[in-house]
């Protein structure tokens, strides 16, 4: 199981999340729709990242992020029929480990890659990607491959 990211994409994720610090930064990962999306061992290719504003209310942006569903629907509609789609999301954990939190698990969708970066004191210090299991009980870490 792995997330293959295009060269330069990590720089955009890093810049977005460092800029958002101390709040959480977030955005979409786009790429070709994998045939085996729900299979263990699948490889997701992300060739584009789209940073989005953190839509959570201002009281908890330092430990919460929200992607506006309308914005997501718009991108899905735009990509419909193109063979490409939203294949995952990235978000940051300011001063906290790049592991999914219980809240991440509660809100997680299947198949998609959840790329979490730790931003420690304003600088990216860890980067890990996760996929939720179909029974929605846990996350499994996947390898991030930089193409």
């Amino acid at each position: 199981m792995s997330l293959k990211v295009k060269a330069g994409l990590k720089d955009l994720v890093k810049a977005t999340c460092e800029k958002a610090y101390p709040e959480e930064g977030c955005g979409l990962l786009l790429g070709p729709v994998p045939d085996d999306f729900d299979k263990q061992g699948r490889v997701v290719v992300a060739d584009e990242a789209r940073p989005l504003p953190n839509g959570w209310d201002s009281s908890s942006k330092t430990n919460r992020y929200l992607i506006d569903p309308r914005m997501l629907a718009k991108v899905e509609a735009e990509l419909s029929g193109s063979g490409r789609a939203v294949v995952g999301f990235f978000h940051s954990h300011p001063n906290h480990p790049a592991w999914p939190s219980p809240f991440d698990l509660m809100m997680a969708w299947p198949c998609l890659s959840y790329w979490i970066v730790r931003v420690q004191d304003g600088k990216l210090s860890d980067s890990r990607s996760w996929q939720r299991t179909e029974d929605s009980r846990s996350f499994i870490e996947e390898e991030i491959l930089e193409a």
Binding site: P22, D38, T62, I67, F103
Partner: protein, 472 residues
């Protein structure tokens, strides 16, 4: 014609890779039911064990969120599109703290308040407050924050406990006189509540370190006693978007406000300019009723906790004035100044500035009196030049660290003991940092002595010349 349900990419694998499913139904709920009848795996993803849509599933009918209409009962007609859109949300573990049994017992009187409750107590535990100063205001403030269970309490202070502090600074006690304030503060707070983390910064808050430090905390509580630091705290709060639970005291009067909150005024909106140096005496010079910081610091703790919990009406846009002699409170309205250089519509201050210069403290007499560096002092001592090295610090400071061969006369006793000094000998005067000795030199020169100041004081001596002299 029929109704089209559109699925997000992540769900298509549970519906034979289709991106849309056509159904015939009168309501959103019935449309979804038809879809679940055909695709069982999809049902498990979208519905919780209670048979209701999971909280992170959004259903739109054409452009509208079904929640804003009649939920699953929202009517649909032929040609409508039902859109299933994930709410993509998550976040770090901060709010996922748990309270153990001992904490549940300790915080019981909070937890049974509906306005606080278990959720609120967890919020307190996962929050972090930075107290600027461990003095009169910082004492009750930090004590109540620790007692209330604020998870991380940072304190910035570089002072040493002086016997004259104990009249009001209840974090410290008699045995801690002469030791760093942070040491006694940490000990006291940890003894009060071992469940909270006390983070100490034994350094001066400066334009170079403030912004980085503030970013690590949720609320800043300013309990400083001088104008340069007060403006620095204000600006750094605005720049980092952190609210400042501000308090100040003087003699029998206190001030209280929350500055730097979103859409609220900052300290500069109220006081664009600092008073001329020397006009407003500090507590050390003007005195203060010992209980007064107890009142104001406690009120700062209340505002801080309200900000963390998001309850009540924070003191934003209002300045409260307390008069202990009259036993009265007055509240004044303070508006955000659109022309404010830091929080206004077109801010010109985008990073901390030089606050000593801003407050006019750089034009102090030190510039007009003869001054030597610690290196020059060392050279004079090595050459065995003839002079008296006068130390104007307090006895307890002298006990901690001294330059060999110095004569101690604390600044406060200098006018009474000046005759102990010989007008024929050359005087070289030092203190801890060079400030008090500058005043001593000014005084001595006015009395006809040949006195020279040591810039940087024993602090510089210890750093640059003799590291065996303790820094304190």
């Amino acid at each position: 014609m029929s109704i089209e349900i559109r699925l997000p990419t992540a769900l298509r694998v549970f519906a034979d890779k289709q991106d849309k499913i056509e159904v015939d139904a009168k309501t959103v709920g019935a449309a979804l039911d038809q879809m679940f009848g055909r695709h069982d795996r999809l049902k498990a993803q979208l519905l919780g064990p209670d048979g209701k849509l999971r909280s992170f599933v959004n259903v739109y009918v054409n452009e509208d969120d079904a929640r804003d209409k009649q939920g699953l009962n929202t009517p649909v007609k032929d040609g409508d599109t039902v859109l299933i859109v994930p709410a993509i949300a998550g976040g770090s573990t901060v709010a996922e703290v748990e309270l153990d049994k001992a904490e549940l017992i300790r915080y019981n009187r909070h937890i049974i308040l509906p306005e606080v409750g278990l959720e609120g107590q967890k919020k307190l535990k996962s929050s972090a407050v930075l107290c600027i100063g461990a003095g009169g205001l910082g004492s009750p403030l930090a004590l109540y924050l620790a007692a209330a269970g604020v998870g991380r309490i940072g304190i910035v202070d570089f002072d040493v406990v002086d016997a004259s502090n104990l009249q009001r600074q209840i974090l410290h006690d008699t045995p801690s006189v002469g030791t760093p304030k942070l040491q006694s503060a940490k000990k006291r707070l940890q003894a009060l509540n071992p469940h909270v983390q006390v983070e100490t910064y034994e350094e001066r808050l400066t334009s170079a370190n403030a912004v980085e430090l503030f970013r690590k905390y949720d609320v800043i509580a300013d309990g400083t006693d001088n104008f340069p630091t007060r403006y620095l705290v204000n600006d750094a709060c605005v720049l980092t978007g952190k609210p400042n639970a501000y308090g100040s005291i003087f003699r029998f009067e206190g001030q209280l406000a929350v500055f730097g909150a979103k859409d609220g005024p900052c300290y500069r909106c109220l006081y664009p300019e600092p008073p001329p140096p020397g006009l407003v005496p500090s507590c050390a010079e003007g005195g203060v009723l010992g209980v007064l910081p107890g009142v104001i610091g406690t009120m700062q703790a209340i505002e801080t906790i309200k900000l963390i919990l998001g309850i009540g009406r924070p003191l934003v846009g209002r300045l409260m004035l307390y008069d202990a002699l009259e036993q009265s409170w007055r509240t004044l309205k303070v508006k955000r100044n659109p022309a404010c250089p830091v929080c206004g519509d077109n801010p010109t201050i985008k990073a901390p500035i030089d606050y000593e210069a801003f407050c006019g403290l750089k034009e102090k007499p030190a510039n007009m009196i003869p001054e030597i560096s610690v290196e020059e002092l060392k050279a004079k001592l090595d050459k065995k030049e003839s002079f008296v090295l006068l130390d104007v610090r307090e006895q307890h400071e002298y006990d901690i660290a001294r330059i060999p061969g110095s004569k101690l006369i604390p600044l406060g006793e200098l006018d009474k003991r000046v005759q102990e000094l010989d007008k024929k000998s050359k005087l070289i005067v030092h203190c801890k940092m060079g400030g008090r000795s500058a005043r001593a030199v000014q005084f001595l020169r006015a009395q006809g002595y040949d006195a020279t100041n040591v810039a940087g004081g024993i602090h510089d001596w210890s750093e640059k010349i003799d590291p065996s002299v303790p820094l304190y």
